[in-house]
Structures are given as structure tokens and as C-alpha cells.
């Protein structure tokens, strides 16, 4: 069995598929995708609703259809795939230890590694919801898997905490399956889901959305019996006396996603505490030479189309890295670092090598809260490099600014911050 590859992609979801295809297209001859599940496609396989592909394919696809487009593209490329195979470790010298029932436990050598492991859901424990610990409390994605992949029902009377997209999609899904969705509760004063999902998944079915509310108690010795919801104040603390008790047998949690970076951490890849993903350069190379990261393992995206685009950057760079035997060292004078300023929670990439920039770099970021009629200000050393007017900014929707090469050359050796300016600020 051959164990040497130009590029090994860890993860065969949308990120891994796009990265592998793009690496192949750009001259990487031996490319291997390692996927832990029995099929390629990742979480898209259980996302049987439509709305995928509007940006990339300019049409509405379901999750499995979107994945299948990329799986079909593998044909004839010579890209190798190992499914039902788990990567157990990646080393800084790009050895990939993996295991499956056929090959056993073995080590592969890579010229470059692309990390595309995706993310996992935050659990009840992550937000310390108090109360009893009965069955019937699921993360929304686990319930989605039980219903859409395994063909089971998870309950009949449902409350949902968190108005992220998975929570909204599951509100509709449970309703279509005959369950009664009592309400969706959201801690923040605004929804964390896409606007279209609020309309299509809640409004269309008359499901109420309680903003500034959270779960403060869970009752049920064995199976869930009731959930108490309280309104929260401006510091997100529950207000006593505002409790509403919902009799229900199911609580779905859609309270955030966490990039799955255990392999990255063990490889020594530095992690940005704001994204929970790797610190990367504009080509999505991490701080470890030849190890790249893309998709939801890097930062949580709201649309798969953007995952695909980002992963193409990483795949192409991985191929370039292998072809050129590495990238030239970037000096501090030739580096621009990107930082999240006022009102911005994170920026990706965090670093830009100016000499490796062709025409421009796209910086992706999220705002901390909702803003109306505000401005995005790009600044270096106090100097405003660009100001973009925005009628509305939402934390749920990833924003983007283009940094032209000329601007980067001017800011070389410095830090560029991206910030939000509202009318009151100066």
C-alpha cells in the first residue's frame, strides 16, 4: 500500500472535497481524502432541506445534492478516498496516523495537510443549563441525524433553545414530522440565524420566537417533562419572576458550534481564541508550514457556499506549497496582521504575507451585535484606509471586506484593524 501523498485532506465534507479538488486541479498529483464517516459529504448528508448552493451554483440544492456535485467531480481526477477511516493524529512533519478496519492502524506521509474536520455542537454542559438530566435533551444536529438519517422520531412536544440556523431548520422539520414546536427561545435580543430561515421555518408555521429568553430549569427524572424559560436582562442574566413553564418531552439545543480542533492542537497548530480555529495566513496556511485549514474547522460559516470558496483557497495553496517545495519565509516587514477592532468579534485570515498576495485579500469577519446605518472602517496605525457604509449588520451573517494589494503594501509590517463605527462614534 502506498503511504506517500502530495496532499492529505482530513475530512470529506464540503471543505475537504473542495480543497482536494482544487489541490488536484493545481497540480498536486497524489491527493488523499480521509473521511471518518462511511460516506463523503459530512454534515450535508443530514441537511435534507434546500437552500444550499445559491451563491456557488446559482441554484437551490439540498445538502446531499450539494455534496453529490462535488463527489461527482472526483471521478477521473485520481483523487483517492478512504472513508470509514479515522485520523488519530497529525504531526508537525506531516505524518498522518489513521485507522480503519481494512488497512488497520497506519501512518501516511504528506507533502501538505489540509485540516477540514468541521465543527461540533455546543452542548447543555457548555452553557451549564441547570436542572435534572432526563433524556429528551438533544443538540439540534443529533436530533436531525436521528430523524433524517436513522428514521426515528425524537419527541412530540418540543421546545428549542437557540435561534441559530440548525435550531430554526429543526423547528420546521419537527413540525413537518408531526411534532408540536411550542417555541424557539433566544438568549440574545436578536436571532442568530439567517433572516430567510426565520421567515421560512418559524413565521410560516406560526412558531413563536422569544428573544432575550433562556432555559433556567429542566424537569424530568427519566424523560423530559418540562422546561422553564426566563427573560434575561441586558447582562443576559435571568430576571426572577419572568418564568414560563413549557410542558414538553423534547428540548433541542442550537446554542453554537465549536470548530473541532483537537487534531490541530495536538499537531501544535496555534489556535485563535476568538474563532476557536487556527491562526492562518491568507492562503489558509496555519502557523505550521505545510498544514492548512479551511471550512468550519477554521471558523464557523453560515453558508456552505463560503466554505467551498475558502477551501478552494486552501487546496490551491497546498498544491502550490508542494510544487514549490514550501513557501519562502515571510519577514515581519512583509507581514500585515489583521485584528478585530471595535464591534468586531473576529477576522480571518489573521495574517497576510504581502509578497504572496496577487491582487487582493478578502477578509472575513463577524460583528458582535446588530447595527443599523453604520460603517465598516479599515484602519492601519490610526489612518483610515477604507470606509464602507452598511445599512444593517448582523452577527449571524459573515461580512467581508476586500483589501487590495496596494493597501497591503502600504500597511506592510503593521496591523490592520477592522471595526464598526456607528453614528455616535468618532
Amino acid at each position: 500500500m502506498n503511504r506517500n501523498y502530495d496532499v492529505i485532506v482530513v475530512g470529506g465534507g464540503p471543505a475537504g472535497l473542495a480543497a482536494a479538488l482544487e489541490a488536484n486541479k493545481n497540480g498536486a498529483e497524489r491527493v488523499l481524502i480521509i473521511e471518518r464517516d462511511k460516506e463523503l459529504g459530512g454534515i450535508l448528508n443530514q441537511c435534507i432541506h434546500n437552500g444550499f448552493g445559491l451563491h456557488y451554483f446559482k441554484e437551490q440544492l439540498t445538502g446531499p445534492e450539494y455534496a453529490q456535485r462535488f463527489i461527482d467531480m472526483l471521478e477521473g481526477t485520481g483523487i483517492e478516498v478512504k472513508t470509514d477511516t479515522m485520523v488519530l493524529s497529525v504531526t508537525p512533519d506531516k505524518k498522518v496516523w489513521a485507522m480503519n478496519t481494512e488497512d488497520g492502524y497506519c501512518c501516511f506521509n504528506a507533502g501538505a495537510v489540509v485540516l477540514a474536520m468541521g465543527c461540533r455542537e455546543r452542548t447543555r454542559g457548555a452553557i451549564s443549563i441547570p436542572g435534572e438530566r432526563p433524556s429528551g435533551v438533544f443538540t439540534a444536529g443529533t436530533a436531525q441525524r436521528y430523524i433524517n438519517i436513522e428514521g426515528y422520531m425524537v419527541g412530540k412536544k418540543v421546545l428549542i433553545l437557540g435561534s441559530g440556523d440548525i435550531g430554526l431548520i429543526m423547528a420546521r422539520r419537527m413540525t413537518l414530522e408531526g411534532a408540536k414546536v411550542l417555541a424557539v427561545c433566544e438568549l440574545m435580543p436578536y436571532s442568530n440565524g439567517l433572516k430567510r430561515n426565520i421567515a421560512q421555518c418559524l413565521d410560516d408555521y406560526g412558531i413563536p420566537l422569544y428573544l432575550s429568553h433562556t432555559v433556567t430549569d429542566i424537569k424530568g427524572k427519566n424523560r423530559l417533562e418540562s422546561v422553564t424559560v426566563s427573560r434575561v436582562d441586558e447582562n443576559l442574566a435571568p430576571i426572577p419572576g419572568t418564568e414560563i413553564e413549557f410542558d414538553c418531552d423534547t428540548l433541542l439545543l442550537s446554542v453554537g458550534l465549536i470548530p473541532e480542533n483537537e487534531l490541530s492542537r495536538n499537531a501544535g497548530v496555534p489556535i485563535d481564541r476568538r474563532t476557536n480555529g487556527a491562526v492562518v495566513w491568507q492562503d489558509r496556511q496555519t502557523e505550521i508550514d505545510g498544514i492548512f485549514a479551511c471550512g468550519n474547522v477554521l471558523h464557523v460559516h453560515d453558508l456552505v457556499d463560503f466554505v467551498t470558496k475558502e477551501s478552494m483557497i486552501a487546496g490551491r495553496a497546498a498544491a502550490e506549497y508542494v510544487k514549490n517545495g514550501g513557501f519562502p519565509e515571510t519577514t515581519a516587514e512583509n507581514t500585515v496582521s489583521l485584528a478585530a477592532g471595535n464591534g468586531v468579534s473576529y477576522v480571518v485570515p489573521q495574517k497576510i504575507a504581502v509578497e504572496r498576495t496577487e491582487k487582493f485579500v478578502e477578509a472575513f469577519f463577524r460583528v458582535r451585535t446588530t447595527y443599523k446605518d453604520s460603517e465598516i472602517v479599515v484602519r492601519a496605525d490610526g489612518e483610515e484606509l477604507n470606509v464602507i457604509k452598511k445599512s444593517q449588520l448582523l452577527p449571524a451573517e459573515m461580512e467581508r471586506v476586500v483589501l487590495p494589494k496596494a493597501m497591503l503594501q502600504k500597511a506592510a509590517g503593521k496591523e490592520i484593524t477592522i471595526e464598526v463605527r456607528t453614528k455616535g462614534d468618532n
Partner: protein, 493 residues
């Protein structure tokens, strides 16, 4: 005629299971019972998971002796039964002069109780041993024989080993009443009747019912008007369990000075590499309500911040609570019922019960013998238990295992690196697991940061396939905790 067991044990927590194992050395018929659907469903699965050194109990108490003896025995048993146990040592931190006095008292206790290696250390040594400890700590008691353990796997291993050696078990048997009659030799024959009206007969009963041990002990008075001699005062303690990112903050169990209500809030690595923070101690009326509360969790965080402010609670993966079977006695209650030598109470086994369990078992076996039941050793006693832990194997061992047994080549629980082979071994272990949590307690699948979000559906399928049961009947934990329903099933309403 119904079988009459030599010994029936009520309660399959760590005490009951240790007793079952100890008695299975002898030519006795032993039945281990519990009201729940698995072993280790009470205090034994929800505690600090510490094997205490034995400097806390008052010298001369039963607790002091059994703790120190139990601590010593635990290492050997865990090695033989292949249970995760690490003797990492403990520190009791002092933050002021008053605390230092407590530390000195604990040191004297430790010496008097025969705890090996206790010493008092100053600020510098403390910071050298544990760099993440608060600057405010001025000194500490160092006690190297304390350890950390996987308490539920320990309990299950004891039960499995007992079963391996001929003991029987009966779960979902909640003892509701006990009657006695005179047997042919004049000694009592007991009939235990369950809440579901099943019966079992015994020549000797051992009450190891944890938080319910007072209720069971009262059944052992057989209506006679005598004082029981103790009363249980259940006390709840709540915890944070944090991800492995936090598991390396300390290399020892970090206690604060104990108070009357408990051993104080501790911060400690776990045998799985996580960090545990807790517990508080609040007396409760309902011994079965293990809910957590935001007030208690906030209190624990605040109290633990004295020990260290380096814990990232963002990395919390679970909160839980356990109920201590405290009594008004202050010591363990290990003695026969005042009216019946063959009704032996092993009650009020609060902390350090987990640490003392093997010594308690020996003590109870002596009481069985004293009651006139002969303890004749079996010709052979299986002392060991084999368990495959893929995660702990080196590269060569992993390659060899997977080449021979391909089912170990498929990781099902990615957070804890648990293979299909390990899950199948758990499902076919001597005491069949009926729930996802029972599988988790046997092999660790679902214990990690995603809390079974990814592996839960897979483990459910394995239970359905291997046990030939309906998905409707796979439980999350206790009876009634159904997870999914088949779509044509209307019983969800």
C-alpha cells in the same frame, strides 16, 4: 421451592459491589440487587472520584481505619480488575493562619491514622509542585497516597468480578418489604418483596442501599420497637466537569480546608484527563433529586477561584450532582440490626466510602461470619478482569490489535477515542448494559466533550443490533428515559 440465597445484598453501589465480590471468594450463594436498571446508579457514579488518603477522619473512628486500609487495597484491586486509578497525591491548601491550624490538625490525624508520607509544605514548595495554584495559598498538607479513580467503572468491575466468581445479580428489584420466618435450624429465613411484587429469599441480608439505607435498615427492625441508632441526612453536591484542555492545570487533587459539611470544593484532574471542580454541600429532603442549580454552580466557581483563577469555564462539558448518604452518626454504620444478627447494615457510607469500599467489604464479611454463616473459601477465585483500552495502546500494539480484530479499527466515540470493538465488548460484558449511559460507564463512549452527540446514535444502533431490542426500548439512562420512537409508534404521547 424458591431458592434461598445465603446472602442478598440490597444496593449495587460501590459498597454493595465490593461486598458481593468479597463474598464471592467463599462457597456462598450471593445475590446482588438494585432498584435501578444498572450497577452504580447512585452516589457511586456522582462524586469527586477521589481515593482519599485518610487524614480527614478522627483517629480511632471506624472511618479512619477503613479509609486508610481501603486506600491501600484499592491500588491492588484496580490493577487486577483493570480499572483506571492513579495515585497522584493530594494537597490541602491553607490560605491563612486558621487554615494552617487545620492543616496541622489534619497532619496529626494523618500520622495517627497511619497515612503514609504526609507532610506540611510551605508556599514555595507548593508553587513549585503546582504552578497554577493561587498566590494566596500560604502552605498545604501534601498527602502522596491519595488517588483519582473512575468510580463507576470501579463499581462495575467489582460487580463483574463477583459475577465471574458465581454471584448472581437482579436489577430493577426495589425492596419494598422484608419478612422473616424461622428456618429448620432455627435461624431466620428472610423474604424480600419488591415494589413489583417479586420475591427473593435469603439467609442473610446486607443493607448497602446508600441514600436509602435508613429506609432499608428500618425494614430490618421487623416491626420491633427499638431505636435504629442513626438517621440519614442526604446532602447534595454539585460539580463542573471540564474538557481535557483544562485537565493539565494541576497534577494533584487540590483540596481546600474541610468544614463540618464536607471536604470543601476541590479542583482535580480526572483519570480521563478532564478537570473536575466541586462539590458544594447542601442538605436535601429528596434523596433522589440530582438536579443542578445555577446558585450552587455559581457558589462553586466562586469558592474554587480561591484555589485558582486559571480555569476556563467556557470549556465545561457537563454539570452533575450526587447525593451523599450522610447520617447523624459522623461515622460509618457497619453493624447488624439491633434485632437481627443476619441483617447487616452497611449504612451511611458517605465520603470516604469510595476509598473505604474494599475494607468495608472485608469488615462486612467478618460480620456475616460472626452471624454464624460459614465462610469456606472456594478452590479457585478469579482475581483479574481483562479490558481492551485502544487509547492507551502504543502504535505497535494498536496495529497488531486491529490486524487481528478489525472491529477495533473503527472509532465510534471520537472525543474519547473509543472503538467499535470496545463498545461491543461493553454490550456483551457480564452485566448487560441497557442504556447509552450504561455503555458509557463500561467503556467511556459518550463521556467526552460532545457528550455523545456524535456517537449516541451509533451506540443506539449497536444496542438494537446486538441485543435484538427495539430502538423504542433503548434508554438514555434509568427506566423511562426513552430516546427515540419508531415513526409508526404512537406511544410517545
Amino acid at each position: 421451592m424458591d431458592k434461598i440465597y445465603d446472602v442478598v445484598i440490597i444496593g449495587a453501589g460501590v459498597t454493595g459491589c465490593a461486598i458481593a465480590r468479597e463474598l464471592s471468594r467463599y462457597k456462598l450463594s450471593v445475590l446482588l440487587t438494585d432498584k435501578e436498571n444498572d450497577i452504580s446508579c447512585g452516589a457511586s457514579r456522582a462524586n469527586s472520584a477521589i481515593i482519599h488518603a485518610g487524614y480527614d477522619p478522627e483517629p480511632g473512628s471506624l472511618m479512619a481505619q477503613l479509609n486508610v486500609d481501603g486506600n491501600r487495597m484499592t491500588g491492588d484491586i484496580c490493577e487486577k480488575l483493570n480499572v483506571p486509578f492513579k495515585r497522584i497525591g493530594a494537597l490541602v491548601l491553607a490560605f491563612n493562619d486558621e487554615d494552617m491550624e487545620t492543616v496541622e490538625k489534619l497532619y496529626r490525624n494523618g500520622v495517627a491514622n497511619g497515612v503514609p508520607g504526609v507532610e506540611i509544605i510551605g508556599r514555595e514548595k507548593l508553587r513549585e509542585l503546582e504552578p497554577n495554584v493561587s498566590e494566596n495559598a500560604v502552605g498545604a498538607l501534601l498527602s502522596p497516597s491519595a488517588g483519582i479513580i473512575n468510580p463507576w467503572e470501579y463499581t462495575i468491575a467489582l460487580a463483574e468480578n463477583a459475577v465471574e466468581n458465581g454471584a448472581e445479580y437482579k436489577l430493577r428489584f426495589e425492596t419494598a418489604s422484608i419478612t422473616r420466618e424461622s428456618g429448620v435450624d432455627g435461624a431466620s429465613i428472610f423474604t424480600l418483596t419488591s415494589a413489583k411484587d417479586e420475591t427473593v429469599k435469603a439467609r442473610c441480608i446486607i443493607n448497602a442501599a446508600g441514600v436509602h439505607s435508613e429506609e432499608i435498615a428500618r425494614l430490618g427492625l421487623f416491626g420491633e420497637d427499638v431505636e435504629l441508632g442513626f438517621r440519614t441526612i442526604p446532602s447534595k453536591g454539585q460539580y463542573f466537569l471540564l474538557d481535557k484542555t483544562q485537565g493539565t492545570l494541576f497534577s494533584r487533587v487540590m483540596f481546600q480546608c474541610p468544614s463540618k459539611v464536607g471536604k470543601g470544593v476541590l479542583v482535580s484532574p480526572t483519570v480521563h484527563g478532564n478537570l473536575i471542580v466541586g462539590p458544594d454541600a447542601v442538605d436535601v429532603d429528596d434523596p433522589d433529586n440530582t438536579c443542578t442549580t445555577s446558585d450552587a454552580l455559581a457558589f462553586i466557581r466562586k469558592t474554587a477561584s480561591l484555589t485558582t483563577d486559571t480555569v476556563s469555564y467556557r470549556d465545561n462539558i457537563r454539570n452533575f450532582s450526587g447525593i451523599r448518604p450522610n447520617t447523624d452518626r459522623g461515622d460509618f454504620v457497619i453493624e447488624p440490626s439491633p434485632v437481627e444478627a443476619r441483617f447487616i447494615n452497611s449504612a451511611g457510607i458517605k465520603s470516604p466510602g469510595l476509598s473505604s469500599a474494599p475494607a468495608i467489604a472485608v469488615k462486612v464479611a467478618e460480620l456475616v461470619k460472626e452471624s454464624g454463616i460459614e465462610l469456606a473459601e472456594k478452590e479457585s477465585f478469579v482475581e483479574t478482569r481483562e479490558v481492551v483500552r485502544f487509547r492507551e495502546l502504543d502504535n505497535e500494539e494498536r496495529a497488531k490489535l486491529v490486524a487481528e480484530h478489525p472491529e477495533f479499527g473503527r472509532i465510534i466515540c471520537r472525543c474519547e477515542t473509543i472503538t467499535e470493538g470496545e463498545i461491543l465488548a461493553a454490550i456483551h460484558s457480564p452485566i448487560t448494559p441497557l442504556s447509552l449511559d450504561a455503555v458509557k460507564r463500561r467503556c467511556g463512549a459518550g463521556l467526552g466533550r460532545c457528550q455523545g452527540g456524535f456517537c449516541g446514535p451509533r451506540v443506539l444502533e449497536f444496542l438494537v443490533r446486538e441485543l435484538g431490542i427495539s430502538p423504542n426500548d433503548v434508554l438514555k439512562d434509568l427506566d423511562g428515559s426513552w430516546i427515540v420512537k419508531l415513526r409508526d409508534d404512537e406511544t410517545t404521547n
